[in-house]
Symmetry: C2
Subunit: 139 residues, 2 copies
Amino acid sequence: MHAIREAMAEMHARSEAIPPVSPAVESLVRQVIAQVADKWTMLVLEALEERGTLRFTEVGRVVGGISQKMLTKTLREMERDGLVVRTVHPVIPPHVDYTLTELGRELSAAFCGVWTWAETYYAQVSAARKAFREREEGA
Amino acid sequence: MHAIREAMAEMHARSEAIPPVSPAVESLVRQVIAQVADKWTMLVLEALEERGTLRFTEVGRVVGGISQKMLTKTLREMERDGLVVRTVHPVIPPHVDYTLTELGRELSAAFCGVWTWAETYYAQVSAARKAFREREEGA
DNA sequence: TTTGACACTCTCCTTTTGGTGCGTATGGCA
DNA sequence: TGCCATACGCACCAAAAGGAGAGTGTCAAA
């Protein structure tokens, strides 16, 4: 009855022994990856990379299709992680702008490969999806 | 009263004019990015990249901390997108194994930069987070 | 005869994600 | 006098993500 439970428990237990680097580092890296490999983060990163400094609404416009709530949240997290600098000009109406830090620019460069992959292979991905759909419809 | 509504509407309308490439391609690329830039997808990709062919439970063990449900879902999506090949050996107990396709290997290579970034800069990210926490506690 | 193994599927439940719409401060403009 | 603009915060709600646990089918070993 509890076969799966035990199997999964063992799976998790044994997985501790597998990582080649220290588990603490591995965990941190995964945490960073999980938060950084976010759709909006990638999009904002790209917007700031190719446009330089932008204001709040400008980021939204360039990214496109993002709600104010998610824009705020994404920018806050990026600021917290040291990817962007938030500069507030105390004027009325408020003026805030966002710029990538060196860390942010490095990350953007790292993601460049993924963008290139997507642009190079998106046609192959759609083809694969189409074939998959047809296979399961035929079944 | 409807200032925000109008601002956002205009934001979305104008955003159509900004992308440098065709909007259809842009949309597809974003779709691909959004699905591929997923935590579990990245982790499974890496597991298969460095271990070669793996069975279902082996993938789970190597990735670590993933539920069966998410493992199934992630592998199915990757199969659908042409990133992995799923081979069923009709024996009992069942034996299914997963291997990266060329497309999958290319994507894995593309993500390599992000992994490197995370490993290189995770310490800077934690430092940034710590500084951020202290700043907001002090405020 | 019971049990375990694999690779799932299904249901139930909680957590997270994300959208909408409202409120806010205040100097400048009509 | 009163509305507009910016960059949010907050409350409410729907949808999706994700985890836990049980069930499945069949054969071989205990």
